[in-house]
Amino acid sequence: MNWLPSIPDFKARLRVATETGDLRQRAAALMSLAQSRVGFVEELQLDKALRQVAAAADTDSLGLTPLRIALLSSSTIDQLLPGIRVGAVRRGMLADVMAGGFGQYRQELLDPTSPLGAFRPDFIVLSLTARDFLGGVPLNATSSEVEQKIDERIEELRHLWRVARDRFRSTVVQQTFLDIALPVFGSFDRLVPASPHQLIARLNDRLAAAASSEGVLLLDVARAIARDGLDAWFDVRHWLQGKMEISPAAGSRFGELLTRLVAAQRGRSRKCLVLDLDNTLWGGVVGDDGMEGIVLGEGSARGEAHLALQRYARMLKDRGVILAICSKNEPSVAEAVFRDHPEMILRRNDIAVFIANWDDKAANLSRIAEQLNIGLDSLVFVDDNPAERERIRGALPAVAVPELPVDPADYVRCLADAGYFEAVSFTEEDRQRAEQYAANAERDALRELAGSVDDFLRSLQMSLVSGPVRPVDAARVVQLINKTNQFNTTTRRISADDFDRFGAAPGNLALQFRLRDRFGDNGLVSVMLLGNGGGETWRIDNWVMSCRVFGRQLEDEAVNVAVEAAAARGIRSLVAEFVPTAKNKVIADLYERLGFACMERSQDGRSLWELNIASYAPRPTTIKRASDGE
């Protein structure tokens, strides 16, 4: 957890927090403490304070997102619970964690009367030990005998996963198996199919493939152990004393990894990496040393260290993380390095927003978030300067600021270890995102040139491809629904299975919208789930839109499309619910603006809207219709 800053007076601050009468403020203080480097005992104390606040108020009023996790296991897991709860609050979630009984995971899943049903877990996590799972396999078993054994076991696991998913409507998380096996032959172990080491390696390979095909999330503890060392996770004394396969000292790390995955599934991973320049992306200060004087690239170990950070950032960009620059520099001097320095890996067009000036960095980070139309809680800010880091942590606590080590050689590792950009899928949209954001910056420049909004929109030459969601789009659709916070009418998250079920039900229609313009393809940017409302109505169960295309009349054109589809099926009205959240204020008046009539408005701000198909006049937009491939 070396990316988290240390707080010297942790205990005093914890005491102040627990004595804060206002529970919302107390929750915020505890969240802030969880974002520091927390020792073993401190974590237990923080956890206790969290449980007290959770018991005293309902989660919504605390400003935290509620979350129920059931952890089922074939070993002792009680030591992992504080780390899970602290990891959750580090991400703004308040976790209620239920620990299954020792070795009871099958019964808990299969027995209809087990307490799991009443608990209604959002996530069911299976943490199994290989020795219990595989049972005995003789050392001289052949490769095909081993495969057969693993087949059987994986088949049983698939069955359990399906039960977890279908009966409890939970997202299933499967932990990879720990390889605690000691060498039997030595290096030759890898060549013996039934050596304990090889069995577990094979089992984990098969587990990953099966999980992927079943839509189960993989919690790769085995990979973390390769990084941290087995001793950091497994202590044979705790195995012998209490059948803990994961030692108490590793609880914090386990909780961090699990809640990272949970947050990613909930669309709460970070989206944008903001980088400082001098002594971060290169060694030295370009304003003083000149482009020739900065340390970057082959030939200098220090230069290669900075290059490694650039290479890593570039790789993040290739998987859909947006890159931005925030530096105190003359803009022309800073941009020249990106254009002209031969060793630079990052180039100007890799950067969606480039801010080099002498303003306060907090103001600049706010500008970056605004320009990209994402929340401050989507930003990670990497800066070698401790004073700048402190400034941002104080002014913008929502921004993640890794505590970079002093040595540039360790920058990349620190950023990677922090796991800010944890993902649970990798889609075509991810691959194209960076280009799309860069194109957005060009659009903004055009907007400033164009006289009126209409002129601007016309000049974009937008075309829309819409239609039912195809199987090939399903992964992107689920990702969009789960990641979108601003334009999300109900903020109901769904799993891939929920979505399949929705599509399979008679009378339902999932509409997708792809928007192209003269700067390129924005991709699949909006989804509307039209559920059979009985009679001749459709319910808009959910409607999401990527913030990249706000203010482009797409919502108007989308309703035109939905009304046409409704009319074609003899539907007479669309009924829509709006559920307000802290993040979807931008669409608070959406349905009113689109000509829906308000049917009811409840105390908690929810509202119900209706649109009559027969009397609907198509809304004028500058968006043309196209079919796929045009």
Partner: protein, 80 residues
């Protein structure tokens, strides 16, 4: 560290683990004397004490400790 210093560390750690600043330990204290010091909290306490002092108790030690004095004596011998 002498006995009293190690005992002071143990007291501080146990207060933190049980979140009870009123706890006082002496060499004769046994687990049953301290409210809420159950077997799970005992394991937690041992881990916390190990981290605090930078030592590792043996598997047999942890099973055989009866009094706090036993823990202090073993810790002192591990500290060298």
């Amino acid at each position: 560290m002498n006995d009293q210093e190690v005992l002071a560390v143990m007291t501080r750690v146990l207060r933190d683990v049980l979140d009870d600043p009123s706890i006082t330990l002496d060499m004769q204290t046994v687990r049953a004397d301290v409210p809420d010091w159950d077997s799970f909290k005992y394991v937690t306490f041992i881990v916390a004490a190990e981290i605090e002092l930078g030592i590792k108790f043996g598997i047999a030690d942890v099973e055989s400790f009866v009094t706090v004095g036993d823990i202090v004596a073993k810790a002192r011998s591990l500290l060298g």
